[in-house]
């Protein structure tokens, strides 16, 4: 039997559709799609039940791993907070920075002491300057901004999540509705719905054979838990599960050993100078509008701190930043109440309980030395 005769209408296949070519000179027939003969009324419930069972097993697997449902840390979630500035809260206190401000500063603690809940715009692995550029350009913003300085991110201009401002300004109605629906009907109920457990991500981190000349690099794993207003803390598993904590440290350690991808010393020096100049420009623009600016260097520890001290010595980075911007700053090493024996399970972020204590200590210093509660700005209102 030829190939053609099988797919022709009425051929052995029995399901081929007619096209205009089958009926020359006759208008295109209305396509009728034949339904294969199967017991569909039994197949459908079977498929639904099987799907539900597989999904339940997947969800159970991640819950057993220690994951709980929470908000996805997305640009859409960031955009909700960013919009507050343009919708009546231009006078607010805004937190920017990388993961240290994001995970370490606890909004409820701050709110309890300050009487107002700050707007959390920090993003992990991302220089705050991306978002400071955006705030500097927004005339609606006249409040106060805390700028977190994690040396390796800040002074290299690294921006792992650098797209949120653009996203916030261009977010389409369908994206906004999708965010709303997801936050109400999906994210609060499913632990597996976290980017770290997406099928491709899970498969990619399996121990595949290594390709010669391309050593496998471990990607950063889930480190935090986020609430609807982006209040975020280090995931307790990093603190309580020794294997997971060791993995988190091992992932950071990849950056501590010199690699041929590292910028040469002269290039790094230039990067640091460029980022400081960029910060100075933003700070000048913000201060011209009456915005109060405060830099904060959050605690780090162990091998991470050693790495930072080696590659980003304080006098060439932090001190130079304050000098160039003329803005005040809080370095954790300058304040005994911030330079305590904190629990930083992976050297970079405070464990949840210490994050609360740290926030209280930090806010107390801020109110005492930098942003008095009833400052002139508020008196003028």
């Amino acid at each position: 039997m030829s190939l053609d005769s099988r797919t022709q209408p009425g051929g052995a296949d029995g399901y081929a559709r007619q096209t205009a070519a089958d009926r020359p000179g006759v208008a295109q027939p209305v396509p009728v799609r034949p339904l294969p003969a199967q017991p569909w009324s039994r197949i459908l419930p079977f498929a639904i039940v099987l799907f539900a069972l597989m999904l339940a097993a997947w969800e159970w697997h991640w819950r057993a791993f220690g994951v709980t449902p929470g908000m996805r840390n997305t640009d859409g979630l960031w955009a909700i907070q960013r919009r507050r500035i343009d919708h009546g809260e231009g006078n607010a206190t805004v937190l920017t920075g990388a993961s240290r401000v994001y995970f370490d500063v606890q909004l409820p603690v701050w709110e309890k002491l300050a009487g107002e809940r700050p707007i959390q715009l920090a993003y992990e692995g991302t220089t705050p300057l991306v978002y400071l550029d955006d705030l500097a350009a927004d005339a609606n913003f006249t409040g106060r901004v805390l700028i977190g300085v994690a040396p390796d991110v800040f002074f290299t201009g690294f921006a792992y999540r650098g797209t949120a401002a653009k996203y916030a300004h261009k977010e389409s109605p369908s994206q906004r509705i999708g965010q709303w629906l997801s936050m109400r009907f999906v994210e609060p109920y499913f632990a597996f719905y976290d980017p770290d457990y997406a099928l491709e991500t899970v498969l990619a981190r399996q121990p595949w054979p290594q390709r010669p000349g391309r050593p496998a690099r471990l990607d950063v794993r889930k480190l935090s838990e986020t609430a609807a207003d982006r209040n975020t803390h280090l995931w307790s598993k990093v603190d309580t599960d020794p294997a997971y904590r060791a993995l988190a440290r091992q992932i950071w350690r990849q950056d501590f050993v010199p690699s041929e991808d590292d910028p040469p010393p002269q290039k790094l020096k230039q990067m640091i100078a460029d980022e400081i100049a960029r910060a100075a420009k933003d700070v000048a623009a913000l201060r011209a509008r009456g915005v109060k600016v405060l830099f904060v260097r959050s605690p780090s520890d162990g091998e991470y701190l050693e790495f930072e001290n080696k590659l980003f010595p304080r006098e060439q980075t932090w001190d130079a930043l304050l000098a160039a911007t003329g803005a005040p700053g809080i370095h954790f090493q300058d304040y005994p109440e911030l330079n305590r024996n904190w629990n930083l399970p992976e050297w970079s972020h405070l464990a949840p309980a210490d994050a609360e204590r740290y926030t209280a200590a930090l806010y107390t210093i801020i109110e005492r030395d930098f942003w008095p509660r009833h400052d002139q700005r508020q008196a003028e209102r």
């Binding site: 190939l3 029995g14 980017p195 997406a198």
Partner: protein, 111 residues
């Protein structure tokens, strides 16, 4: 003969894709040189997993087309055991959900 012509077409289409996607002619020549193995001291960029995924997907596409060349989807479904149909259906739904997706990156919006 047919297979050889098919492979030749495939190879030529791969060459044209380079010009379709490259931002500049310089980059296109660089990729073409790489495809011919003439880039000195080149370092592998893609991880093993990326190569495996492409091999599995492209291999499955070719096999599926091969198998379906003389068949319609309806006839294949009609001949399958009902449990197989239901299982495949459930697996597809499961895979879609656990893949999670990340934005709807439709390729033609990227040009």
């Amino acid at each position: 003969m047919l297979a050889a012509l098919g492979l030749l077409t495939f190879a030529l289409v791969n060459v044209t894709w380079v010009f379709f996607r490259a931002k500049t002619f310089d980059k296109a020549w660089s990729v073409l040189r790489g495809m011919l193995g003439t880039n000195a001291a080149s370092k592998p960029i893609l991880p093993m997993f990326g190569l495996l995924v492409v091999a599995v997907i492209v291999g499955s596409i070719v096999l599926t087309h091969w198998y379906m060349r003389g068949r319609t989807l309806e006839s294949v479904v009609a001949r399958a055991h009902p449990a197989t149909v239901g299982t495949v259906w459930a697996l597809l739904a499961f895979a879609i959900v656990i893949a999670q997706g990340s934005g709807a990156a439709f390729i033609y919006f990227q040009f």
